[in-house]
Symmetry: C2
């Protein structure tokens, strides 16, 4: 009987899964545009079976899921685990999903999201915690500052293998709002223009020198008005303004190295912007989620 | 023959006009939801005649217009006048609109917008300059810092009666984007809730203590998630976050007094937020636009 783990990252807009063997090797991967937002209450089990049922039918296969699938609007709620949290705390907070198909009980567990308090304000993450843990495993680190750029970027501080605290920056969402719904949309090209590195750098420099995106963003319009920024360069410039502001607002607590985890197109922009701050950067792709889920699964096996 | 001025503030979304007698008294006012954005190229003269033709038919009536009507997409372009700019500079840059109706030439002139450079970035205003000049007249000031809150707030520094420089903050637009199009929309009530002063104050304090709205805005969602902010209080809290960030990002250059010009609902919020900074505040309504246009008209008469 094989010993296989189906590792799943089920977020708001996408569902991704990887089948891992006992050594943690990826045997196969699948994805579907069936994020939580596309699924009605009560339909999660069906989507799960449609996408991964054949893998789960093989005896000795268990499943560990992370992401918004464990939120109130997800399949089943896995209450947030408070920081500081590492493998042990997360394993103790795993939630079993009662589900059977074709007469057999499926072994499925949910990874809880994390919560912390920053200056009296709660913050939350769901799904990013497995990437953080995976990155620590991959790099052999116990202490690190990690950045996961995205719609809602997460900045996590890890000490002795536990996520001490983290902060959310809505930079990806602000960028999208400004591109699509603001007055700046009129100054941007209709079709995506290729990335313009000098314009991006100019945006980053402007943001680092500024105090608020609410003020610097207006320069997209005024530079356009006076024909001082070509149309094809404006989205890259705005991207630089947003990412520059994100870097400006995050204290690095003396870190000299930063770990970046994310899609290459975003990670490259952050790397470029961070170079101005004289920080060493190590980058990893989103597949570290599988490594994080595997680490949780192994820790759970040891402690059971 | 009477000596009358038709003073017009023709912005992106609204058209407002006041008929003033030779002493500057307001004889009558009219408004229409015919902002520049609702008017096709070539149709400005028709809208003007429909709205104000009968007033202009009285001999001895001339017209001065400010706002987006003088932009590239307006009736006729009145090129931006560079700062520092006071009455004299603006009068020299007035643009005559060639227009006749019922066989008679209309005496219509456009007030140019202003432009300035902040740290190598251009900034622009159109329409606010007449309110600034009107406020100076109304309060008998030659030196002041003025704030005109709105979709795009303007902060103007006046020295010796001239607008030295100004800055645009897209605070009203950011607030609207977050309310309508962001993930926070899900946490806000569908119908407008009444203003919640303590929630607003909490937002201001959070913003003054924070470094970016991209980070603080997420607390609307997390406070909602943990039921630590009632639904009816969330819009006021978000408004406090946005206005607090606007105050945080504006250096006051040692000013001890601030002049606020705008709609009462916005001005009251800014007054409330500014009280935390220990600044004296004087407030004026948007009707100071008429006073500013009158001052420009008189200065033009003197210098012709």
């Amino acid at each position: 009987m094989p010993d296989r783990l189906l590792a799943i990252d089920w977020g708001s807009s996408a569902l991704r899964g990887a089948l891992l063997d006992e050594a943690g090797r990826v045997l196969d991967q699948r994805g579907a545009a069936r994020g939580m937002l596309t699924i009605g209450p009560g339909d999660f089990a069906d989507v799960f079976e449609t996408t991964f049922g054949d893998w789960m039918d093989v005896p000795g296969t268990r499943c560990l899921m992370a992401g918004m699938v464990g939120s109130k609007q997800g399949w089943l709620e896995a209450p947030y685990c408070p920081c500081p949290a590492g493998l042990d705390e997360i394993v103790r907070a795993l939630v079993r999903v009662p589900h059977a198909a074709r007469g057999r009980t499926r072994e499925i567990r949910l990874v809880p999201g994390l919560t912390c308090e920053n200056r009296g304000m709660p913050d939350v993450m769901r799904g990013e915690e497995v990437k953080v843990l995976g990155a620590l495993e991959a790099l052999g680190l116990d202490d690190a500052v990690l950045v996961l750029p995205g719609t809602h970027s997460k900045w996590a501080t890890v000490a002795k293998g536990r996520i001490e605290s983290f902060a959310t920056v809505m930079s990806g969402e602000f960028y999208a709002l400004l591109c699509r719904h603001s007055i700046l949309a009129k100054s941007l090209p209709v079709d995506d223009a290729p990335f313009d590195a000098p314009a991006f750098d100019r945006g980053v420099a402007t943001a680092l020198d500024g105090a608020s995106l609410m003020q610097t963003a207006f320069s997209v319009r005024t530079l356009a008005l006076f024909e001082r920024l070509p149309e094809a360069a404006r989205a890259s410039y705005l991207s630089g303004l947003v990412i520059g502001e994100e870097l400006r607002c995050r204290p690095l607590h003396g870190a000299r190295e930063l770990v970046l985890v994310g899609a290459p197109v975003l990670v490259e922009r952050f790397e470029r912007a961070l170079a101005r701050r004289g920080l060493a950067v190590r980058t990893l792709g989103e597949e570290v989620a599988w490594r994080g889920l595997l680490a949780i699964d192994r820790c759970a096996a040891e402690s059971s």
